[in-house]
Assembly symmetry: D2
């Protein structure tokens, strides 16, 4: 509610109230991140998870699933632009895209800004999350109503395996691999090799969110996901960006059997040609910086030997993107 206009024409600070209610998240066991709350807008629960939409003071409306921040109004554009635009821009002419997860709708929203796109399939397992986001996330209403978007409620693996169609781009917008969660199976070498890759067209690109990518946190899953994709695809590019509401750097990896080489100027040209509206985060130089990892992270990724399999998974504490 922010400032309140009073009858005497003054605005009122509401200080007492504002700082009394807090959202608190354990980033790790020993690390907490707390946002002052304006209100708890909606709460709900699905067969799979608990859902809440909070109005936070530092980051606006925040979608929280199972006690973990998924995305916040003020900075979700960073995550979603980084997930979507690099693979689409590196592709010569992306027409159809399959999103694994993505129920929040923001990934679809960014995809649908590309004027080359004919069809977006969003396949999320949790209908209640999709319905919740469709109802409450105003910024994604236009995307949810776009005729090019088809929403399917199913397990992404089962859906991909049941389809004959191939895609220009497949997007992994899944929860982080968490112990006990179902999603870690969608980060394995065999899944990439036998399920994802066969569903890409010639020249197709796969991209996935890849967990925290900070100087300490990148060894949780980012380096493994990078190395696992390196076993399956010829060209693999890892990149990262700071997301303030996550209190960390976040990582993504894109992979293809065709080269992924565009310089900053070429990216800027394609942004102008293909994307409707102005990007808030990504341009050529930004991607150039984002894909030039710092020394420690670069060396870790180069030297990583762990390959994700169902038998040898790695898990993270519980940040995270889930949709």
């Amino acid at each position: 509610m922010g400032e309140v206009a009073l009858s005497n024409g003054q605005s009122h600070s509401l200080n007492g109230y504002r700082k009394s209610c807090w959202y608190e998240e354990e980033i790790e066991d020993n690390l907490r991140w707390c946002f002052a709350l304006n209100s708890i807008l909606h709460t709900g629960a699905s067969q799979y998870q608990d859902i809440a939409l909070l109005d936070t003071k530092p980051f606006g409306k925040a979608l929280v699933i199972d006690g973990k921040l998924q995305s916040a109004e003020t900075d979700e554009f960073i995550y979603h632009e980084c997930l979507v635009h690099p693979p689409l821009l590196h592709h010569p002419n992306p027409k159809n895209v399959f999103i694994m997860g993505g129920g929040e709708g923001s990934t679809a929203r960014e995809l649908l800004r590309h004027n080359t796109i004919d069809q977006v399939i969003m396949c999320d397992i949790d209908e209640e999350v999709v319905d919740f986001c469709k109802s409450y996330l105003v910024a994604n209403w236009e995307a949810f109503c776009d005729p090019r978007l088809k929403v399917i409620i199913n397990d992404a693996r089962a859906e991909l395996e049941s389809r004959e169609e191939r895609y220009d781009v497949i997007v992994g917008d899944l929860a982080d691999p968490i112990d006990g969660g179902p999603c870690y199976k969608l980060y394995t070498k065999s899944f990439y090799e036998f399920t994802v890759k066969p569903r890409l067209k010639e020249g197709g690109i796969f991209v996935t969110q890849a967990g925290p990518a900070g100087i300490f946190s990148h060894t949780e899953v980012f380096s493994s996901i990078y190395n696992t994709l390196r076993q399956v695809f010829k060209y693999v590019v890892a990149y990262s960006a700071h997301i303030p509401s996550y209190a960390d750097i976040w990582g993504w990896v894109m992979a293809s059997d065709s080269p992924l080489e565009l310089n900053a100027e070429e990216i800027d040209v394609r942004v102008r040609q293909r994307i409707k509206g102005e990007n808030r985060y990504l341009d050529g130089k930004t991607f150039s910086s984002a894909s030039t990892l710092s020394k420690v992270v670069r060396n870790s990724l180069d030297n990583e030997t762990h390959v994700y399999t169902e038998e040898a998974a790695r898990f993270i504490h519980g940040h995270g993107k889930h949709a």
Copy 2:
């Protein structure tokens, strides 16, 4: 929202979500008291203060004004029964009562349970608080609609001074004396002597909430209020009770020029004769225990020399009852 019924018939624990949102209050500078939140039900602001109604997990719905807990659904009955029933029961036949403050409505609710009562005047300065409570505090709807209740929006002192009527009981249900707040003037010797006492009928009783009364906290204002009233009235009785949501013992003082002497059995008889419904907190033995203060507190009150005047006020950190 508590348990959520899911389509598969199971109820769901919502653990992650439930412990993410907290109400936090600084009882003192160095002491915090935090309640897990279900939701933030309503927020508002008046000319004087910010108001919020929170749904807390440990104490139910909680009214918070300027960042301070005023009263919580699960235990406000302790505060309000202690404020109202001792003076009314000690009075031979209380017919009309004047409440200074009390906008929450709970004090009126308890008064109106007495079958001797003809008229209750509630005089609160803050119309928005009164309207907010009237809208949202379901437990007080019956009281707000009782024809014996008259609500007046005014400063209690100005109102009392402007009236010629006298009362059997006057109830001080005011905010604690806080530095910079207006209420501390309503705790002074001159106010008691020249404003309150002249408006009591023969045999009339004055009662006031008197702030925290714990073994350490009672010297903040409780002992002063007791001693100040002792300067003005012949008979003064202090008593206290633990209010879980306040994380402290709370105090009240009643005063009269007529003796305040009832034993536990006499109290129980009058409770049965006069009060509609069953008291949840107060009975004869409870009052007997409540008015037998522990050694430290009793000695402090006996030996207190401070008298409240506008020039020599004492303030508390900021618990507290306000309405």
Copy 3:
């Protein structure tokens, strides 16, 4: 460290620092109690539990075991005076006492203030806790060095069963019954009947701490312990007091086959005759108030039907006294 004297003669507020470090305890799942910290004085671990001595701003030095506050410098006298003095004062001439638990040393300290006492046996299972407290709790050094005190490291039940000696008073200064903890077996009817009672002399008195006794919390274990003792002893008295650092009312129960009847004046006489130094908490009126329970608690205790057995135990969330 409190105020710091600076070279320029001013004292310095240290505000920034003071409020940065906090001790946080979950009183219940949904309720937290937080103290600003001056420092973490000592930490250690035994075979059984983790131990820490913190210097807190609101309550002075605080002993914390397994993340639960055990006792705080500024108000432990309330707990220990309530545990020790009522049974000793009700006994005509208490000479020897057996403490189950009590490793902190404060219970022994209060016992040894009685001039009738010849011998105190303190039997605690955890040698490291005893050594830790002996080293760091300055207030108990005199007691630990008193020749009348004998410290035994053993399980209290095994020790009592192995002894032929009988005692005037047996004191249960044990951890609350917590699920998975060993202590709950020392709250059962069979333990009281077959282990404790046979070790009391004619006219002997048993007393035990009995967990939280607040208007909501007393049903966790207080009422059960009361009812269980009522099955074994002819005379049983429950009483309670507010302990600020526990954020709750606490309960104790004393039991005997001889009547436990002293009025306030008789208690005051015995306090003067028998106890060295001045009590800070307990006197006749205080005990009279403490043993007159409020309506809800009194009715719960009267109507309690649960009897503690090893098969039908009740547990509390985790406040608590442990030594």
Copy 4:
């Protein structure tokens, strides 16, 4: 203390204790960042500020001044390598350096790793901070004992103005400009023009820490400092890096009247030639990425018009480096 070896050979988790004590910092009014504590190692106070050395679980030993984290053991290398190495590597042959502030000693430590360095002057106003850090920060003992380091206790401006000597590099390792603090005067155009620049040798380089540089936080002071230096020097380079313990991206600006142009390979060559030991954070590609700012930040800096003067200062909420 980490794991505790017990007599029975098991190590003990100490979970209860570990998560009970927290360091809490308000990054902004509505945003908190909390570290679990192992212990509070040392506390002290100077004429100017309060100092504490904490042992935190997520970030090791942490220096806190006036309730603000200054530097943490596990990641201070990022801040100090970014502050020191870019300007020294861009200089053809840096021999003498003047540090404004820097009392922690880490800036001097990084400078002294360069084999071209003959002399480092560290000028900090607060002797107690310097002494505190010299005593407790083991990682800087070697630097504090290096004969090339001269520590002066004085106001940096007064000291610089009193000297005739000129320097190859001047380093601003000062507290962020905070309202009411003294340091903001050391970020003004007139200070840079009339105090700093005259004390640089031909080809000399000035570098300063420049506050938070995140996508939202860079407008607090980073863009202003950049623009202010642009008014005074011909060549100005801004760069940034994520510092996990600060929960944000941090910024630095270096400035000179000689070109600041080295590509990644040239930087790597100079790192190998000049710096003793291995850098943990900075190499050529890292600097290349760090100095390629993301779209929003780059545009803000390009378009910034605010110039720091004593009359028109900007302040930040209170992160921050101070020494």
